[in-house]
Amino acid sequence: MGVITKPKYSIWTLLKGAASRHRQWAPAWHDARPKPAYDVVIVGGGGHGLATAYYLAKNHGLTNVAVLERGWIGGGNTGRNTTIVRSNYLYPESARLYDFSLKLYENLSQALNFNIMLSQRGLIVLAHSRHDLESLSRWANALRMNGVDADLLTREQVQHLAPALDMSSNARYPILGGLTQARAGTARHDAVAWGYARGASALGVDIIQNCEVRGFIEEAGSIVGVDTSLGRVRAGKVGIAAAGHSSVLAKLAGFKLPVTSYALQAMVSEPVKPILNAVVMSAAIGSYVSQSDKGEMVIGGGLDLFPSYAQRGSFSVMQESIAGTLALFPSFSRLPLLRQWAGIVDVVRDSSPIIGRTPLKNLYINCGWGTGGFKAIPVGGWTFGHLLATGKDHELAEPFQLERFNTGRLIDEAAGSGIAH
């Protein structure tokens, strides 16, 4: 099997490591080769795929599971986001889903014995007009009705929480107040992928990198395996968790999805001393800012609004994000940008995910998270694992089926999730 027996990480193993000049560390997870057959094959080794494998093993005892990753684990959107976690969604179905995710995040370091560096530093959504204030109070009320923490902030409270904001009366985007979710914050994105990979691998899951799925094997109307760059792999069930490449895999299997792939950009400045403690979002400028633990200002932008599979963004969108950010934080104007990148996100019209069946038997899909997949990794894995193991929808995932695009029961979060989609 090649299972790595998981040494527990602790202060003692760290001290022992220091004493041996850190030569004793074993790989955190086993880099496997494919076996001829598995009970479940998951296509896509990002956060969602790895979390699905982990919860299949942990919650359902299914360990004859493989995760097939075309590149390296966590190298797609899991390594390309702005690391923000939050659950301030408008509709009850979404609030339940994302708050469950945030609750799993709150205990994830302990559950995985892997420090995901969750920092619940709070998120502030800014109000720039009287109308913004009104819509933020509606939003806050909806959140509280759904049991998600939310507080309205006065102008002075915003200034206290983020003193670097331009609060002057002649600011381009005057700040009248805000909405905060104190439990929101950031988590180390790579650690989430690695932690789930380590947890899954220790329970016997095979994580197979550089293994591209090139086709699906169909027998008597059911999917019974996949054709990969490393040969045929048979499977009892196949789950797709491939974000921006979901449509490509759906096409291989012979069906269409209500998904369009767009590039979503982010960028970081050089690291500086702590100046911004909260995550700051503004719908007016369509971007959001936080400061990483290393000190970089992390800026997330809006979508490049044309279909793209190129993992880079347009200069014009980057310019817009930066111009907006500098209007809010004029003191950042001399910061050199260090890096800029884009991830390919799977956007659906109602900005809500799809966790369910496909038109093909034994083929399941977890996609449509669009610009917000990172925060949903734990719940995506939890509910998708439940579906793959039991064949039944998890109650949290029931509203998020593919059929809603034909029945019309959309969960239109486009207006509710605080960032222009």
């Binding site: 449509s247 269409k256 793209s308 347009s314 014009s316 019209r349 695009f405």
Partner: protein, 87 residues
């Protein structure tokens, strides 16, 4: 940044344009069922490669036109009119 060749104004920078999504999707008749209507409204090929799509020169002449564009390289293969058959 892409540069698009507007059939009326010539080559201009991408921020002047707005993409209107997949081109020339046939609208089903009013008698169609939920399945077909949903397909028409939401389900797309979303190809990795060549994509036929509508663009509007919003901050220019305001006219619509069609493109064949590669979604991996962003290379524009062809520009054609709204009523023209795809090349």
């Amino acid at each position: 940044m892409m540069q698009l060749n507007c059939p009326w104004c010539g080559v201009r920078d991408e921020p002047e344009f707005v993409c209107g999504g997949t081109a020339q999707i046939a609208r089903p008749g009013v008698a169609c069922g939920d399945q077909e209507w949903g397909e028409y409204l939401f389900f797309r090929e979303n190809p990795k490669g060549l994509h036929r799509e509508r663009w509007r020169h919003t901050h220019g002449c305001g006219q619509w036109f069609n493109l064949v564009r590669n979604t991996i390289t962003h290379e524009i293969i062809a520009v054609y009119g709204m009523q023209d058959p795809p090349p």
